[in-house]
Point group: C2
Chain length 401, copies 2
């Protein structure tokens, strides 16, 4: 029925707006959404009755609390639902438990024996980690209303189909199906860089921006795009493949099998490969150790090592410039945790990017560097799940009437 | 007043929907827009009274005319307003006169003595051309409700500021101001490739798509992006600079002063420059003649000329692949008119693009080749102006009440 559908939409919209607002009076909800005051009153009554939101007295210290402003704010009921978010990395899975208000409740780090797993192996590790996470708050996985999953690779977010991921031994795995069946709860998977973009949009540096690019720097480079306040995912779920844009025609061989990709110059393996002809790198050591050796040699003044590292920075700058030329964003966020890639965050790289974009008499986009740990990725995954769980909660409310 | 604002929004929305629908009954308007039937009836009465739309009997032959369907359709009144669109090219300005329904009424081609003009010189040429266009229908420029202007370069569409254009001798010219003052009518300028994207979205191959990329091929390459059914313009109005994305690190010098840009390999001047060391090119001839000579030599089996042309095609393919990797569009439209760039439309180029994108077990985006003349650019400009004129018409209606 048309009316029922509109009511559902209003509930969704108002719940999101309350979630975004933190604490917000009804009158502001009407103003921000364009929904009439009468409808706001009716819909928020439904949400209150369903336990999804609650009323709290307005902080009398708030700067706009004077001049006849309403004395009651609405906020999300933190206890209404619990969600978890996780990020699969090379050697561990990071988990966060989040309440319905988006507050972190608990975290957990689950070590992984292998960086590449079968779908069942990954599901087992996730189930173990979730149990451990829930146990920390004397709960169980059954208390969760949803799980957000971030992993590297090509993930079609709407279906949960993982075309390819460095964490999985198989291609074309439907992670929604595998994990929902194993865990008995709704699962929402996405490319990890998209979830970082989600975290920046929800909690981070992108909160006040509608169009920005998040570049993640780990062993490779990823990209999340926010356009018009939404994650842009492309039409087949395989966009935002920044690391495999070609910046050097028929250049260095990439692990993807093609030539001239950005990753073939800036990824960890690329640095080591390039430096291996001039440095004596231990073939038995890890890639991280080898990268550390290259960077140390560069810092110590080894000319060829310096050349390797500088070129990676210039290649990265050109890759960023291409994105600016195409998207003209307000803001670029370079997000990552690993100090081993400090050379990519360098001022010289940002300067080079600015020189490589189309020159107009306007300032270039702002570049912000945001360093944080695996928890941020997991929080992005939880925030992603939270959006769906909000919608599910609103729908169940409707059926309960 | 909130109600007045909503009424204005409903009028805008319904006028657009009628414009899109061609001929549409009220009941379908309510369904498509989610606006209640009562409001649709009230708002369309306003639009009818203001002369912006008219009622026509439903075609009894229409396949859905049976089963108690309404017998009356609404359509835009073609005569309500006239707009013009123009595209500035190297040697001429193409004009189209369009009615309020989007139908072409007349066209005109105004020759230009120089390809680069002062702002006043350009305004003079546009005024001459508009007079000639209007004279063809025994009218005058005063009959026009708006003018859409497309030109190459960096144009900030919202303000009309042209940061730079190959058609202008000056940088940072506010074309809205210059032309509105000269012509006495509202002017809406945009980058020409955006207007081609607008034409594809409104009349062309993009009609049924929400996310697609239009690549224009002239003496350089341009790009228009449609994301979520809207032209994406970036935040400073300088996005979509496909021709200046770098695809060959520190490669060939581009006219923009930087190295490795796509245009430095595929633009007309780049082909001639590359071939000039192996072919005897007449330095007094035009660039178009020189390009024709290079292409003829390649077709005749001249190895080095073939190499030049093939490389341009491969570079173009890599540039396109980068866009696919970043945007993952449903559709790429290669749009242009000049047969001299047939080598860029070649099957081999499309195949090369498909090999250079991230490989997933899904078909790559469709590529459509759409060849048309300058009129299509001008029609895009007129369609762009039409959108604004619709809004202005709806607003004046309000003031008249």
């Amino acid at each position: 029925m048309a009316f029922g559908h509109q009511r559902l939409e209003s509930r969704r919209l108002l719940l999101r707006e309350i979630s975004k607002g933190g604490r917000i009076p009804r009158i502001d909800l009407a103003e921000r959404t364009g929904i009439s005051r009468a409808t706001v009153t009716a819909v928020t009554a439904d949400l209150l009755k369903g336990g999804l939101i609650e009323e709290i007295p307005r902080d009398p210290e708030a700067e706009d609390s004077a001049r006849g402003r309403p004395k009651i704010d609405l906020k999300i009921s933190g206890n209404a639902h619990l969600v978890a978010g996780l990020k699969v990395s090379g050697h561990s899975i990071s988990f966060v438990l989040m309440d319905f208000e988006g507050a972190d409740i608990e975290t957990h780090e689950e070590a992984l024996p292998n960086s590449t797993m079968t779908p069942v192996g990954l599901a087992d590790a996730i189930a173990r980690g979730l149990d451990a996470l829930a146990a920390k708050v004397d709960g169980s996985v059954a208390d969760l209303s949803g799980l957000g999953v971030g992993l590297a690779g090509l993930v079609q977010a709407d279906t949960g189909l993982v075309h390819w991921s460095p964490s999985l031994t198989q291609r074309n795995v439907n992670l929604h199906d595998v994990l929902s069946a194993r865990l008995g709860l709704p699962v929402f998977a996405d490319n990890d860089a998209n979830l970082v973009a989600m975290a920046e949009l929800t909690f981070g540096l992108g909160r006040d921006h509608s169009d920005f690019i998040v570049i993640t720097i780990e062993s490779g480079v990823g990209m999340g795009l926010v356009l018009g306040g939404q994650i842009y995912r492309g039409t087949r779920g395989c966009g935002a493949e920044f690391g495999h844009t070609k910046i050097n025609f028929e250049g260095a061989l990439c692990r993807c099998g093609q030539r001239g990709c950005l990753e073939a110059y800036v990824a960890d393996y690329a640095l080591v490969r390039d430096a291996s002809s001039v440095l004596d790198i231990d073939p038995k050591g890890s890639t991280a150790e080898a990268v550390a050796q290259v960077l140390a040699a560069a810092r110590a003044g080894h000319g060829a090592a310096r050349n390797v590292v500088d070129r990676a920075g210039r290649m990265f700058a050109v890759g960023l410039a291409n994105l600016v030329n195409v998207f003209d964003p307000q803001l670029i966020i370079l997000a990552g945790e690993q100090m081993q890639f400090d050379h990519l965050y360098a001022d010289a790289v940002i300067d080079e990017m600015r020189k490589s974009i189309v020159q107009v008499d306007k300032p270039p986009p702002r570049v912000e560097i945001h360093k944080w740990g695996n928890l941020m990725w997991a929080r992005g995954a939880a925030a992603y799940a939270l959006e769906f769980v909000q919608d599910i909660a609103v729908e169940s409310l409707d059926h309960a009437r």
